[in-house]
Symmetry: D2
Subunit: 158 residues, 4 copies
């Protein structure tokens, strides 16, 4: 999860690497499905490594979906779909920060999902640690995040 | 789309064949994702022919998902997820009838989706024809439904 | 509940009388909140008799809300809000018929709500009786519907 | 908006005062509708001053609604209803902090709603200012919040 329009070039670059790394592990990349920002970069990375991508879209059709979203879930719920993004994920990795992204982190904590804050600033980490101590992990690099996911899945694998 | 608990053995048998036929065409089978009735039978059929299956679940976790639902979208919205089922489908094929199924047909017509009423009784056909003349097609067999889908996709392929 | 654009003049006239009758009983009128058709007529009737009206809106703002919707719930969910309309009602009275309306009747039956089919044709009555025998009542006039509501509330009053 | 189970006694006391103050202005108090924490205290305060209260509930029935929620919107969407809370509000006042509450602040910023952070700590204020500079106001007391709402409504009154 991460910002669309407001994503920085660094966010996008790291998101591409994250998508690639997820795909290489055989995992699925689920995003908000739009054609810009962290969503797009992560799905592009996943596709680049032959991974499967799911986009959970805010609109009532898939006209604005990214071409890199292979499976398209059309919700017609606007930002209300953020809750579905979170519930449908095993682990939520967060890269970049904006209002929609923050709602996803908060809903993930509320829904007892594990959240990895990737490359986030101190204020963001402290805020989310305050409201979800046991749910929130911190990672600086994609490799670190992938290791945390592996550790988590080793214990919680479905 | 079709009933869960209230599906008849005939509905389930035909749903299995429908799932198989969809998979053989290389199409994706999307259902409500639960482990009984038409949903389960259609996904089992699709898996039997190596097709991809998506289950859009009503609960807030995937505990009650069918094992045949490969991609699981967790909505936490109860029957509110019926709208997402419909919006996410290219074509809605309806087999068997119950309250939840009827809501999906109605929402599909409302959302300008094509609906195929498969093996339905006269009252059902007349009711839905009354509220959605141009959206509703009728088929007696799985083969007939598959032909209708092919015709539709030939014109509307994305 | 009833159609918007596709409502007949007869539907609208009866909806106005229904809204008035509901308000006179001290009950609240809840509709889809838009400014046309059965929704608008029922709320206008309710306001005419000093009743309280709630509109549960499909859009993500209340720009297109009826002026007669006093309480405005903004869902941003499109027709997905039909489920909320139904869950938030004690009894669902249905006047006129169209795709959105049919989805509300079906979701009401699915959610074990009592439904009164007011002034509906034979096909509609038979279809919904088939999928929800014990949930569906039939009325020809507003007076008859009000009596049925009173009987129901006498037993199920919260 | 504010936490349920995790609300502090101070949060609840201030929420009661806020509900009273809102009611005295003739405004409506809309909350998540549950019978504990900030939601309950604010609605109790509003009722104490003869104000109108709306509860937008997460469950698919109103069994767990607060007795102080006069109008009950039943969503069946779990925390997905947080988006509806925000869209249906003119201004979002936030008292206390927890994961669900944080999601409401974030969704409010995302939806271009005005948010008043009432009696919040420095980390919380800095985090939300970072993602929604122009949307976020800060208040220390109920009186201050009421003044900010008045100023806002003076300009944006519908």
């Amino acid at each position: 999860m991460g910002p669309g329009e407001n994503a920085t070039p660094d966010d996008n670059e790291m998101a591409f690497e994250l998508g690639r790394a997820i795909a290489k592990q055989g995992w699925i990349t689920l995003t908000g499905g739009r054609s810009f920002g962290v969503m797009e970069a992560a799905m592009k990375g996943a596709r680049d490594a032959n991974g499967l991508t799911i986009g959970v879209l805010p609109d009532s059709n898939d006209q604005h979906a990214s071409e890199n979203a292979q499976i398209r879930i059309v919700t017609g719920m606007g930002s209300g779909r953020n809750y579905i993004n979170v519930l449908s994920s095993n682990i939520v990795v967060v890269l970049g920060m904006a209002a929609g992204t923050a709602s996803e982190v908060a809903l993930a904590i509320k829904s007892n999902k594990k959240v990895i804050l990737l490359n986030q600033d101190e204020i963001t980490i402290r805020f989310f640690k305050n409201i979800g101590t046991y749910r929130v992990m911190v990672a600086k690099t994609v490799d670190e995040a992938v290791l945390q996911i592996k550790d988590y899945l080793a214990v919680h694998q479905r």
